[in-house]
């Protein structure tokens, strides 16, 4: 395929569009609230009027405000409705006709100028909720695959790696390792066979960013992976996606088939010597497979158990070949960086954390859904302005980083959200789950919840994690049952340090984090549960 052909597809797609597009969210969140039926009713309601010549209803990906789904948007008119039912379809059509705006039709308008939307800065999600993820033509119409063309024809692999390095992009899976450095390491490795793996095993409970990206804009990931493949010299990619995300798998499969059909995947892409193909690997429900060496073991068809590093996957990964593993969101940033340039990307965010980050804002907060915000925004802005605070009572803490992270208490909400500041607070950026907790939530209970999770998900290979998580869980249960003493709490703290220091992989090394961070900020809650509850005997740390 030539660039001209790509542009032609884009033009044709633009021309075939009707002037007014009604977006109906059909991503998993809204789909479970019956949005498919809403779309059908909208189609029928349109047919009954003379608007069907100028208006079309499109299934689009996630519109972010998941807690209020199904969402319907008429973009050119600035109308957005929440919790739409199939019965309201005629009323929406009437509203398009300039009909009544009273409340009798039960439509709930949502203000597109709500801080939930205005504070966002979409890069990863720029097409989410705007295009139909099941049609490659719509992705091409918004400039898709042009960056791949640009890379293949105008840039050398070294230039691509440099561009990513200069952008300051860091891994979005949680660790925050500089992406450019990782690419450079794989690129430098000798050998003809290298692999690119997209880690879509989003196991953190309370996180669904990757799911939304895969469901809403799958071609973006394919393009990002292909660019990465060119930069590091790999011709084969794998996407390792959780089995719990059937819609994401379906959209990815469809996207790969379409890309192959257009010659955007396969051999000699864009008449260049570059070949690239992508296979999907479906996980089977193991949290530890999010760890890169465990993920590789699982792609190879074995038990997903991690192995010691080094050698890092960049040196010896899939089937012993140099392998680049990046998270979904990392790959989703690539085409935008190539399009707009590294300097543009580096101008967003803070000194050490560049760009934007997608968070799944959930828990006891009024507005739940996906947010993409520039790095450096404060937690207060996220929770209070965008999230609208908690419906009942007071916000007590925000949990970030899932089972590997910790809780940030409300009095530290002015902290900017970036990799290093969160680590200083004893938590981490993680993959992007952000769970708001109110004063009703017991922090000891939360710590026990995460420990139960880690205990169940430990692969059992190394003893500190296998036995340690079990012991910590039992100690926490003892505390919650009111049977523990001060000595138990001390033992728990010692064990936390030991498991953190001696576990083989990230799962074990971070498993004590939820306990340590709740002990750091909410020690009182632990102390009041002790038998020799000693308020006064022990100095209470804040």
């Amino acid at each position: 395929m030539e660039l001209a052909e790509l542009l032609e597809i884009a033009e044709k797609e633009q021309a075939s569009r009707k002037p007014i597009r009604v977006h109906c969210c059909t991503a998993a969140g809204c789909a479970s609230s019956n949005s498919e039926q809403v779309k059908k009713s909208l189609d029928e309601a349109l047919k009954a009027t003379d608007l069907h010549n100028t208006v079309e209803v499109c299934s689009v990906g996630c519109m972010k405000f998941c807690g209020r789904g199904p969402l319907v948007e008429i973009e050119s008119k600035g109308l957005l409705y929440e919790q739409v039912t199939p019965e309201q379809a005629p009323a929406i059509v009437a509203a398009m006709n300039g009909g009544s705006q009273d409340d009798s039709d039960g439509l709930i308008p949502l203000d597109p100028q709500h801080p939930f939307f205005t504070l966002q800065q979409p890069i990863v999600l720029e097409n989410s909720g705007k295009i139909n993820p099941e049609r490659i033509e719509e992705y091409i119409a918004v400039g898709g695959y042009q960056n791949l063309y640009k890379v293949l024809h105008d840039m050398t692999p070294e230039e691509v790696v440099d561009e990513i390095t200069q952008s300051g992009l860091r891994g979005r899976g949680g660790g925050g390792y500089p992406t450019g450095l990782k690419w450079a390491t794989v690129a430098k490795m000798p050998g003809d066979q290298k692999y690119v793996i997209c880690n879509a095993d989003e196991g953190d409970p309370g996180a669904f960013m990757d799911r939304s990206v895969l469901e809403s804009d799958p071609h973006r990931i394919i393009e990002g992976m292909a660019i990465a493949g060119y930069a590091v010299g790999a011709n084969h990619g794998y996407i390792y996606v959780r089995a719990e995300y059937p819609l994401a798998i379906k959209h990815l499969q469809k996207a790969i088939t379409q890309a192959k059909k257009y010659g955007l995947m396969g051999s000699q892409i864009f008449d260049s010597p570059f070949d690239f193909k992508i296979d999907i690997r479906v996980g089977a429900g193991a949290f530890v497979c999010g760890e890169e060496t465990a993920l590789i073991a699982s792609v190879e068809g074995g038990r997903g158990m991690p192995r010691p590093r080094p050698p890092y996957p960049a040196q010896s990964g899939l089937w012993g070949c140099p392998t680049l593993i990046n998270n979904v969101e990392t790959f989703a940033n690539i085409s935008a960086i190539i399009r707009e340039g590294a300097d543009w990307y580096a101008s967003i965010g803070t000194e050490k954390s560049k760009g934007t980050k997608v968070f799944a804002l959930t828990g006891k907060v009024r507005n739940t859904g996906l947010i993409e915000v520039p790095m450096g925004i404060s937690l207060r802005q996220i929770v209070e302005e965008m999230g609208g605070g908690t419906p009942l009572g007071e916000v007590k803490a925000v949990q970030t980083g899932g089972p590997s992270g910790g809780c940030v208490p409300a009095n530290l909400f002015d902290t900017p959200v970036e990799y290093d500041s969160l680590i200083k607070l004893g938590t981490m950026m993680g993959s992007g789950g952000m769970i708001v907790m109110d004063t009703e939530t017991s922090m000891v209970d939360v710590a026990q919840f995460y420990m139960e999770f880690c205990r169940g998900e430990s692969c059992g290979k190394c003893i500190p994690c296998r036995a340690g998580t079990m012991q910590m869980y039992q100690m926490l249960t003892k505390i919650l049952n009111g049977q523990a003493t001060m000595a138990d709490l001390e033992k728990l703290e010692q064990l936390c340090g030991m498991v953190k220091a001696t576990s083989l992989c990230g799962l074990g090394q971070t498993a004590p984090n939820p306990v340590m961070s709740t002990l750091r900020y909410f020690r009182d809650e632990y102390l009041t549960l002790l038998q020799d509850s000693p308020n006064g005997k022990v100095a209470v740390k804040s």
Binding site: A28, G29, A31, S32, S33, C66, G67, G69, E202, G203, D204, P205, G206, A207, F208, R211, A243, E244, Y245, R281, V282, G283, A284, G285, A286, F287, S298, V299, E300, G301, G302, R303, G304, M305, A360, T362, G363, K364, T368, G369, L370, Q399, G402, G433, I435, M437, T441, V446, F449, Y450, F453, E457, C459
Partner: protein, 176 residues
């Protein structure tokens, strides 16, 4: 020439017959196709087990042996993988499945209460099947429907914002 090709066809036929599972169960055909498409490569094991579970409902010993033979893997390896991953079940499940999500968002919004209600009224604990085999109650680490917490999945259909009452309404029919 023609007799040679005919002979070849016959031998292929007998081979195919030999390969077929002795029980004559057609579901093994599905496995054959999946394994063949993956060129019987051992790294297709997880994919084949997914297919097997889809076809048989769970992974009985016979199926594991068949897969091991097909992919030329030791049975221990197949058993090891089947028991490692949570989504594979070695026990038959009920006619219907109710999955309660226990992700953090669902948890802080009261997923535990949903489980208590099911235990109390449907007499089923998590990870178990009702005595009459009508419904299995499974828990999930996180199904990614956090915006609609607490969420549950009824035979593959995700439903958000569940209450103890709504969850009982959804499973009532199955239990009758």
């Amino acid at each position: 020439m023609s007799s040679a090709s005919a002979q070849k066809a016959v031998s292929e036929k007998t081979q195919a017959k030999k390969k077929e599972h002795p029980s004559g169960d057609k579901r093994f055909k599905v496995l054959d196709i999946t394994m063949k498409r993956a060129q019987n490569r051992p790294d297709a094991l997880i994919e084949v087990l997914h297919k097997a579970q889809e076809a048989f409902g769970y992974l009985e010993e016979d199926v594991l042996i068949y897969v091991a033979r097909g992919l030329k893997l030791p049975l221990s390896r197949v058993y090891g993988v089947a028991t490692f991953y949570h989504l594979f079940s070695l026990k038959p499940s009920g006619a219907h499945t109710c999955v309660v999500c226990l992700g953090t968002a669902c948890y802080v919004k009261g997923a535990g209460v949903l489980l208590d209600k099911l235990a109390e009224e449907a007499h089923v604990q998590q990870g178990e099947t009702t005595a009459d085999g009508k419904m299995s109650l499974v828990t999930a680490r996180c199904i990614g429907a956090c915006g609609l917490a607490p969420a549950a999945v009824f035979d593959g259909k995700v439903m958000g914002k569940q209450t103890p009452e709504s969850i009982m309404d959804n499973v009532k029919e199955w239990l009758e």
